[in-house]
Symmetry: D3
Subunit: 157 residues, 6 copies
């Protein structure tokens, strides 16, 4: 199989999707941000009392999903029709699991939008906690599932 983004001069192009069908498409992506236990506790306190780091991360992830085609050079502009992000605090592994879901009706999928939402949310958590923890790591950012389009269902094993 060949890379599809390369033109005859060997340079990148935006693949022509004008003959693809408009279908409802959904993508779910996930990633983790690992941190010190103390950092995770600070974040948890904030979600209970005041200073919710995760609500800022949520906004940044959703806004980044809308900016995806401005960040990823060969991405088609897409009018996403829905976006949500869910955070799961995991005190056993000292991490926050970030899961994004993006939907659209269009000629091309929203995998990149979902992945971009996860990384932007992770970067925002890093930014807001870096004064107390510079060793956080964003990891395991993967596409969990996508539906719609010619290739149909993909689910990560």
């Amino acid at each position: 199989m060949e890379l599809t983004h390369i033109n005859e001069q060997g340079r990148a192009k935006m693949v022509d999707v004008s003959k693809k069908q408009e279908t409802v498409r959904e993508a779910i992506a996930r990633g983790n941000i690992y941190m010190k236990k103390e950092t995770l506790e600070k974040i948890k306190e904030g979600t209970i009392k005041k200073g919710d780091v995760l609500s800022v991360a949520q906004v940044s992830g959703i806004m980044a999903a809308k900016k995806t085609s401005d960040i990823i050079p060969m991405c088609h502009p897409i009018m996403i029709s829905g976006c949500d992000i869910v955070f799961t605090l995991n005190f056993e592994e000292n991490k926050i699991e970030i899961t994004s879901t993006v939907k659209c009706t269009g000629q091309t999928g929203v995998e990149m939008e979902a992945l971009t939402a996860v990384t932007a949310a992770g970067l925002t958590i890093y930014d807001m906690c870096k004064a107390i923890d510079k060793e956080m790591a964003i990891s395991d950012v993967v596409l969990l599932k996508k539906t719609g389009g010619k290739t149909g269902l993909f689910e990560r094993k």
Copy 2:
């Protein structure tokens, strides 16, 4: 130690850095994107012959570094004075290591710019290869080193 981005109403603010000194600052970040061996080989062929996925990833990472304060809500706008990205293909672990270096002279550091460059480059590699490999994973995105500013040198152990 307390989170610094939270105002008295418990909401996020952009921290006031107007009394911080302008110093030369540098940050180095790194991350990996894991993929199938075949995908890594396709990318390697491109760098030798034609269709260089990594040159597009490079451009996207540098452009994303400039957009950092537009992606991360509480980040200060920064005029970065230099940015470079280096890719290392690793056939033992079937991954590409992405290392970014960002510089500025300013009142606040460029850690987030370096981390944003790495993730954008990783997402671009994903985008350009996803037709042949949807199981790629972006992992281990960390700050390796930063210099300058009040807190001075940080080096990841």
Copy 3:
């Protein structure tokens, strides 16, 4: 009735509109900018002779309408299909009335686009006249009317 933008974790989400029908939608918004009589006279002179503050405000309002989903976090991206702004100088109340009309064919309305156009045009008038009048006030920014979509016609009483 409940706020619709909140997910189960109590955080903001972009509401899923993928099952909404595509209809022709229009929204009309209005606002006033109050100023000193002398400022209003300067602006009027400009529209007659040279230096048309309002033509810059017009451009800024139309461009801001296109940027709405980049400014308002939970707004869906929308391809607006038309936008116009009309200014009415009122020397009795020393104000300029700014009225915007925005159209689209889509799954969600253009109310926010119309309101954003009015505020951007008002802010631009402020910016271009602030050297002679810092006491201007933007007021009464409201949605006058919207048509299309499931909820149909809304008209402000």
Copy 4:
């Protein structure tokens, strides 16, 4: 006194500030968003329990402050060094008072940044509550105070 943004051809220009001194500058702006009592109560509930509309408005205001020179055509790009927004719920007048404070060290002031933050925060409140209240009005958006620069202190009477 003359409008300063007009060139010899009678068209807008970005005023040359290259001979102005770099000073610390601050601007405080304020505005109100009026709504139904029920809407105000819903928002208050959210700040106590879940679904904090105001934390999204806060993020949007701060991000809009950074985008000011992209929204207001003749505004100079500015590296703001701090930004905060405070909301005051007023049940007597059924309004939320939005107050923004913006700082920078530069050749030109941050009045437009502070005003833009207030209007973006107001528009975001409108967006998140418009399903239950389309008659909200953004009003009284004014510059309260600015310090720094050649003209020094301005305080609204």
Copy 5:
């Protein structure tokens, strides 16, 4: 024939296209960048060995095509469905010919997107070579052909 972008107050508006039909549309634009023979040779070396100026120009042109409605005030936002750029080195005239092709399915054409891609690619070549040649000139930027829409085929004679 009259200019269509002017409203009754004599100011610019975004023309209402909401009654236009959605058709497949394509536009091809072309331009030249003239330079010293030595500069052209340096660029050619890069495409053979390392340091491909044209691959960066390619990325910038495609990304600029996506940003067109953010650069050209009265342009409608468009979801382009494909974009490619081809470079032809001409050693007789010491120029690079830049040809862009843009496609979409929509209510309005992609002429401006194709022209914007050409100019951004040209400006990027200028930027990357200006250390060795400040006398480059971007010239002859024209629309070669467009198809689709009410006015149908246009071909430059």
Copy 6:
């Protein structure tokens, strides 16, 4: 002489300017847009009566100058301190001459900002007149002069 934007891996980088001195810098660029005589007459009428195409082109050029580092991948972000554009209608050659002047105080020059302003203004003229003239051509976009920085004065012969 070598191209400066290429790193050791043969890919583009943003050149490190952190050791360059901050100086006052100015750049003047020029370009022409050729058109039918009738188009030029329509534009002239607009500048006398109503519907000033050139005032929209002016705004777009100035706003594009501010967006330069977002359009040209390896450009440093720059806080321009002034920008103006002048249009000269030439009925002998049926063209409009577009001249931009950009200033900044910084570590790197504003040549690209001046060139970007000229091309954006030209593209906007094209956009607003394309309903009556699709054969317009943007030509002769060159840097006329730049001052400041290590290389000092450049003047096009």
